[in-house]
Point group: C2
Chain length 239, copies 2
DNA sequence: CGTAGGTTTGAGGTTGGTCAACAGGTGTGG
DNA sequence: CCACACCTGTTGACCAACCTCAAACCTACG
């Protein structure tokens, strides 16, 4: 069940069989959330953290005028709200952008891990700081990149993250998001997102049809995005 | 020396005297970095994390065309690169925006803490996830707020964060940043930042002269910013 | 067959960027 | 003491990027 969590973590550092067993025993009750439904709600005080097993989910906030900003996208193997283990109260909601299979880890059990297994604790901590690294990259992208470069960057990021959990084949991956949702992730209007996407298509660097993204020219795409995947911290080292 | 770190942490949860003593013994070698100098450099592999004792520092990245984006601002009591304890390699630099007094905590010692004091470990972990919460709020601000609202929001945030460490008096605080640096934090041009600031001044909500910021009308400012400080996680509870 | 959700396109207006110039303050060397 | 460079803040003019509104089109589905 937690194969993809293991993949994401063990890409960064080796897990012992004991640690894997601990994670397996702690992650429980898998179920499916339909597309469009909230997995976690702003203001709630969850007593467990949610692991995404399958599907794509997004953290988001809505402003008073109805504008929505997606602050993070999650792929299988990600905890969508591990930070709530320490923050206690959710300061944003998490929505299922596609049907999502999820499971839960009780904060009581996570607390137990933090008391008994320092290395596994650091690995969980690591996954929250990688979230942070991705947030920073998004800030740079929204703040200083052109929209074309930003969109290219997002595609590069998702390509790499989905590769880690084995969900890319032949430069192609399923991205179950509407253009309106992608626009909310980039902080642009739907209309402008669409026009920006046209440009990438015309450049011949990506195909994006029926929610299947195919990278036709990785070199050019990464160049447009000025993409440097180091922030995803894929290197395997003692943590 | 670490008074402000204690302030920030114990605002969120009680620290035992033992824990305070541990922190005190781990944070060493305070020194001053002159304004404008880098405290940590992108690509480096620090073996210790840096605690900011005094001054203001910023995490930032520079793109190929020379544009800079500040991804985080740090006030006294913040660790500027605690995440590097787990990420190992810095994916951004940290610069002193004013003369900064800093001290260091060796990763070896932090690792020791993670092995021996679960609660203190969680408190350090907490401080990295609060960083993350601030990042998310910045993403929302850059992506979906008007520049006026975004600037107001930044002022509100700094007001609250500086209050926690006792650096605000009578709605006034010292903010040792040039307008160009603030512009890099908001992801706008210097010219536009200046014009936006004029508007807030004309509205009579802030005074901002000689790097001293005075909030003249908190109510209106918070309203313009649509500010809700919950994301700063100031509530005191067991973590 | 009508409706709903998603994509695409065009037109026109606003926000915010770039370029350029100037003002005030500070430090430096002649 | 002045002349000068330099840094920061300020302002105006012009232009590009991006937004909003609006409509058309497509497909899936009851």
């Amino acid at each position: 069940m937690i194969d993809r969590l293991i993949l994401t973590l063990s890409t960064r550092d080796a897990l012992t069989t004991d640690e894997i067993a601990t994670l397996e025993s702690v992650v429980k009750r898998d179920r499916v959330v339909p597309s469009g439904e909230d997995i976690v709600i702003e203001g709630s005080r969850p007593t467990e953290s949610t692991l995404l097993l399958d599907g794509v989910a997004a953290r988001y906030r809505v402003l008073e005028d109805g504008k929505r900003q997606i602050t993070a996208l999650h792929v299988p193997g990600d905890f969508v709200d591990l930070h709530a283990f320490l923050l206690k109260t959710m300061d944003h909601s998490v929505v299922a952008l596609s049907p999502c299979r999820i499971a839960s880890a009780a904060h009581r059990d996570l607390c137990e891990i933090s008391a008994t297994n320092p290395h596994l604790t650091r690995m969980l901590w690591l996954s929250t700081v990688i979230d942070g690294a991705i947030h920073r990259e998004w800030i740079v992208a929204i703040g200083r990149r052109s929209k074309k470069s930003h969109l290219a960057h997002l595609i590069c990021e998702l390509y790499v993250r989905l590769t880690v959990v084995g969900m890319v084949s032949e430069m192609s991956f399923h991205l179950p998001m509407s253009q309106a949702e992608v626009a909310d992730a980039l902080g642009v209007s739907l209309v402008h997102l669409n026009k920006t996407l046209q440009i990438l298509r015309l450049d011949g660097v990506v195909r994006w049809v029926d929610r299947i993204v195919t990278i036709l020219n990785w070199e050019r795409l990464a160049e447009i995005a000025e993409f440097d995947g180091r922030y995803l911290n894929l290197s395997h080292e003692p943590r």
